[in-house]
Symmetry: D2
C-alpha cells in the first residue's frame, strides 16, 4: 500500500502497449523519427496553438532547460519557498542557467503570494548592476503542497511578469492533476494566461519515462535543440519517449488517469475531515495530514508507505496515483480513523 510517491507507480497499460508497438523496424534517430514529428502536431492540437515540444526524460531537465531559456546567467528566478526548483534539484537550474539565482518567495499553501512577489520585484533595481536581473517567475501547478493556483491567480502572475518584463514558467510536473481538478482547458491554464514555458509532466501520471518542455513564446529557445543535445538529453531512440507522450494525451488518457488519482485523494479527505488536521486544502492528488509521531509510527507498522514531510516530524504526505487502488484507500482511511 504505497502512498509514497506517484513516481513509484507502474506504467499505465495503454502507454506500455504504445511503446511495444513502436518497436517495429528502423526509425530515424535523435528525434527525427515519425513519432517525434507526430508528437509536435498532437501537442499543438491539445494546446490549440503553435508550440515547440521538446520530449525529455525528467522533470528536472524540463524545469532546468525552461529557466535556461528564460533566464540569463546574471538573472534571477522567483518561485515559491516550497518549489522543487529551489529545493529538490541539487542545483540543476543553476547548472543549466550557468549560475542564475533562485529566490524563494513567501506565501501560503505552497504558493507564491502575488502581492509579496510584486513588492519584492518593485524593490529591485536599486543596486543596479550589483543585483541579478529579475527574469523569470516560476509557479508549480499543482503545487508541491498539492494545492492549485486559480486561473485568476495565474492572470495576476501574467500581469506581474509583464509589468517587470519577465517570463512566466509553469512547473507542470502534476499539471494533469490540476487540469482534471479544475476542469479548465490546458490552454487557459497556460499560454492564454501568459505562461511562456511549461514543464509538462507525464511520468508521475502513468508514463514510463516521459516529460516535455513546451515553449509557447516563439522568442524563446530558438536553439533549444542544441541546448538539449549539449545537456545529454537527446535520446537516440527518441521514438520510445515520444510515443509515450502521444499515447498519454490521446483519448484524454492523461485526464482520466489524473482524475482517478484526484478522486482517491479526495476520498481520504472527505472521510477524515473534521477528525483530522489537514495541513493544506486537498485539491489534487496529494494529502498532507498532521498526524503526530505516534500516529505515524502506527501507520508505518501496518505497512503503509508514505513520506514524513521533511522539516516536520509529525506531518505525513500521502500521494495517490493513477495506480492507487480503491481498496488501499479504504484501508488507509480505516487505519487512520482508529
Amino acid at each position: 500500500m504505497n502512498f509514497r510517491s506517484d513516481n513509484e507507480a507502474p506504467v499505465n497499460g495503454v502507454i506500455l502497449q504504445a511503446i511495444i508497438d513502436a518497436n517495429s523496424g528502423f526509425e530515424e534517430s535523435y528525434a527525427y523519427d515519425s513519432y517525434s514529428l507526430k508528437l509536435q502536431k498532437t501537442m499543438q492540437q491539445l494546446f490549440g496553438c503553435w508550440c515547440d515540444v521538446v520530449p525529455l526524460v525528467t522533470g528536472t531537465a524540463a524545469n532546468s532547460l525552461s529557466v535556461a531559456i528564460t533566464t540569463p546567467a546574471y538573472g534571477s528566478i522567483y518561485c515559491s519557498k516550497e518549489a522543487h526548483l529551489l529545493n529538490d534539484e541539487c542545483g540543476a537550474p543553476e547548472f543549466y542557467s550557468a549560475g542564475a539565482k533562485i529566490i524563494g518567495v513567501d506565501g501560503n499553501e505552497g504558493k507564491i503570494n502575488t502581492e509579496t512577489l510584486d513588492h519584492l520585484l518593485e524593490a529591485t533595481g536599486v543596486h543596479g548592476e550589483h543585483e541579478c536581473m529579475p527574469s523569470t517567475i516560476s509557479i508549480t501547478q499543482s503545487t508541491e503542497a498539492g494545492t492549485l493556483y486559480s486561473i485568476d491567480e495565474i492572470k495576476q502572475f501574467n500581469q506581474i511578469k509583464q509589468k517587470h518584463q519577465m517570463y512566466l514558467h509553469m512547473d507542470g510536473s502534476r499539471i494533469a492533476n490540476a487540469c482534471a481538478s479544475m476542469g479548465c482547458s490546458i490552454a487557459d491554464m497556460t499560454w492564454k494566461n501568459g505562461v511562456d514555458v511549461l514543464s509538462f509532466g507525464a511520468t508521475k501520471n502513468g508514463a514510463m519515462i516521459a516529460e516535455a518542455l513546451i515553449i509557447f513564446n516563439p522568442k524563446l529557445g530558438k536553439e533549444i535543440k542544441r541546448m538539449r543535445k549539449r545537456a545529454g538529453h537527446l535520446v537516440s531512440k527518441m521514438r520510445f519517449i515520444s510515443v509515450q507522450l502521444i499515447a498519454y494525451i490521446q483519448n484524454d488518457l492523461w485526464l482520466n488517469l489524473a482524475s482517478h488519482a484526484n478522486k482517491m485523494a479526495h476520498k481520504i479527505y472527505t472521510n477524515l475531515k473534521g477528525t483530522h488536521d489537514f495541513v493544506y486544502p486537498v485539491q489534487a492528488n496529494e494529502v498532507f495530514i498532521r498526524l503526530g509521531v505516534s500516529g505515524i509510527k502506527k501507520l508505518q507498522e501496518k505497512g503503509f508507505l508514505f513520506h514524513i514531510w521533511p522539516g516536520s516530524k509529525d506531518i505525513i504526505r500521502l500521494v495517490c496515483s493513477h495506480a492507487t487502488q480503491l481498496s488501499d484507500v479504504d484501508e488507509i482511511i480505516k487505519a487512520l480513523k482508529k
Copy 2:
C-alpha cells in the same frame, strides 16, 4: 535496408520483455528500486571488480559525466580528432566540466597516435598557469572509424596517463562490438589496463534507452549521484533503465548481439575487398568505403540508407546492428558489386 546507424535499430526482444516484466507494482523511485540495486552487483560480476554503476539515458551524458569527474574546469582532455567527444556532442563535455578544453590529437584510422600524444603532453607546462592542466585521455573503443585499439595500445595509454598523472576514459558506446571482435575480457579491455572511467553503451546494440557510466577508480565521482541529479539525469522510474542493462549483460546477450553486427560488417568486407576501397580496416560493425559520387547516387536510388561521411563527398559509412538482416547485407553486397 538501413545501414545508417545502429541507433535506428529497434529494441531486442529479450530487453523489451524485461521492461515489460519490470512493470509490476510499485518500486522505489530515483534509482533506489530493486533493479537498480541488482544492476550494481550484476555489473560488478561482469567486470570482476568493484565499480560504481550509474545508469543513464545517453552516451553523451555518460561521456560528459565521465570527463566532469576526471577533469577540473581548468583542465584539458586529449582525444582523437575524430572523437565524438570533440565533434558531435555540441559542447556537452565542456558544459559538464564547466568549460574544460578538449584537444584533438592526430593519429591514423580514427585512433590517437600514442607517440604524438606523449610528445604533446611532454610539451605542456611551459606556459604555467596560462595553460590548461592536462587531466584526461579519452579513447573510443571501438573507434568512430570502426577500428580497434589493441590491448597493447591500451596499456600504452595507461603508461602515458600515469607518467603525466592523468586519468583514462574509455568511450565505450560500441564496446560490445570491440569485446566481441577481440575476444578479450571486458576487464582486460578496461580497468585491468588503466581505464578509470567507462561509458558503457547498450542502446546502439539492442537496448531501448540505456547506457551506464562505470567508475573503476574509487577516488573519482564520490558525489556522482548529486552530479547526475543536477544534470537532470536522475530518471524517477529508473527501474526501466536498469532492467535493460541487466537483461543486456545477462547470458552474454550483449556479446551475441554485437557478434552478429560484426559478422554482418565483416561479410561486406570479405565480399568486396580487392574490388573496393575500404577507408579503414573493418574490425567491428562499421564499414567505410570510398565509393565515388556516382556510386553513392546509385546506391541511394536503390533504397539503401547510409551516411555520406561528413567532410567527404565520396565516402560512405555502413553500420550493421543487432537487427541487420543477412538478406540486407547480401542485397547491398550485390548492389555494390555492380
Copy 3:
C-alpha cells in the same frame, strides 16, 4: 562631505608613493615580480603562519574565488541574509563555483545566528542527492551592518563547520576595521579559530586597487593560480597590486587607517546616542540611523552624501573612511542634532 562609501575615498599617500616607487625599470610579469614574491612573506609574517596569498583587484573576485575552492558546483554556501555575497555581487559566487547555491540564514544585526545555522544544517541530508551539499559557511567581518562577530562567535562557527564537515570563509572586506576595533590579532580573528579562507580587503581602507585572497587551509586551492588566470584576474603588471598590499600592512598602516575611520564613526555615535535611533550597534566604521524621510531630505539638502539603505525609506548609512575629516564629522553631527 562624503559619507556614502569608503570606496569613494582617495588613496592613502603612503600607498600611492609605494606605487610610484615600484615604477622603476622592468619587472617580471604575471605575479612573478619581486613585489609579489615579497608579499607572500610579508603576509605570512602578519598572520604568523603559512598561507597562500593571491593578490586581486576586487573583493568580489576574492569572495568568488574563495567559495569556488571551498564549494563544489553541487554544494551550498550559508551566509547572512544581509551578506554581500548573497545580494550584491550579481551572482559572481554562482559564476565562479559553476552554480553553487547560496542560502541566506537569519540572525540579528547583520549576523548569522549560530543556533539557527546549526538547526538548518542538522535538517539537511533528508533529501539525499536531491539537495545541494552543505559546503561553506561565509561570515563577513565587520558585517554589512557595521557590526562585529566576537572571537567566541567565530569559535562557534568553527565548531559548526567541523561538525558538518564544511569550510569557513571570512569576507574581510573591512577586516581592518574589525581588527582595529576589537584589538585582537588577525591570527585569532582568522586561522587560529577555523577560518580556512579569507577575503582580505584593502581598497576600502586606503589602497587604490588591492585585495587579497588568503588561503590558510593547505588542502584548498592548489590550482588557485590557474583559477585566477582563468577568471581574467592575473594582472600582467602585478607588482603594482602587490606593492600596495605590502605598504598597506607595513608599519601597521592598515590598522592606523582603520582606527581613524572607526573613531570618526564612534564620534557620531557618542554625540547622538540618546537622541537618535541607531539601527545597529556602532562597532566599526559604519553608522546606521533611522532618520525619517524628512530628516533625510534636510541632510541631503545640506550637501551630505550618504546612502538611504535599500529596502528601507528612512534609514541612512554613514560610512567613515581613512580619509574622513574630523571637521566633516563635526558638521554632520551638528546637522543631525538640529
Copy 4:
C-alpha cells in the same frame, strides 16, 4: 636588457602622473566616477562612432567578455592556431562563455587563412544540433607572431562573418602597434570594416593596469555591466583605471609609444636581415629569429632576457616596448652579429 615582454616594462610617466592627479578627494565608485564617464566620450571621439567602453584590468577579461557576448554556450569561436585566446588563457573564454568551443584555424605567419576559414565554415551544419553553432571569428591585431592583417584581409573577415551570420572580434592587445605600423585610422581597423567587439590593450604599451572592451555593435552586450560585475571585474575605484586610458589616448600618446616600440623592432630587423633567419615578417614590435641552441645560450650568457618560443628549441622572441632603450637595441644587434 629586457626583450622578454612588453608586459614587463614600467608605466609611462604621463600615465603615472594622470593616476596621481586623479587621487584628489572623493569620487563615486563602481565606474560612475567622472573619469569613467569622460572615458566614454574620449573613446567615442577616438573611434569616431558610438561605442560602449568597458574599462578592465586584463586582456584576458576583455577577450573573455568579448566572446561571452558574441558566443552562446552552444556556440563556437574560430581563431588562429597561435591565438592567445586558444592557448594562453587557461580556458578563460570557455569559462566566461559557459563552455563554448574554440577552434584553431590554420594559416601562415600567425594569421588565419581566410579561405581555410571559409571552407571550414561551409562544412559546418551537416551534424545539425550535434555540432556547436559557429558564432564568432576572433583575429589578433597585431598577431601573436608580430604580424599584421591588412585592411583588405579584415574586409574579407567581414564578408565571411556576414555570410555565416557570425560576429567579428579583434584581440587588440597590441592594436597600438598595428595602428602605428599601418598608419591607418583605428576606425578603419575596426568598426568600419566589421569588427563588432574590440579588446583594446594599453597595459603592454605603457599603461599600468588598463584595458578596455569596446563594443561597436549595439545589439551586443546590453547587460555587459552585470556581466563585468559578475566576473569580479567591477573595480570599486575605477577612476584609477579610466584615467589611465584617457591619458593613454590623449595627444596620440598611445601611437607615439607604439611607434617607438615598432622602430626598435624594425632596427633589429634591418640590421640583421640577410644574415639571420627571421621566422615571421617584422611588422610591429616583435621579432622572431631562428637562432639555434648555441646562439641562444650565448645571448643568455650576455644577460639578455627573452623567451625561447614554446614548441621550439631554437627560436627566440624579442619584444620591444615603449621603454626599450635604443642602446639596448644596439647591444643586442651587436651581440647577435657575432
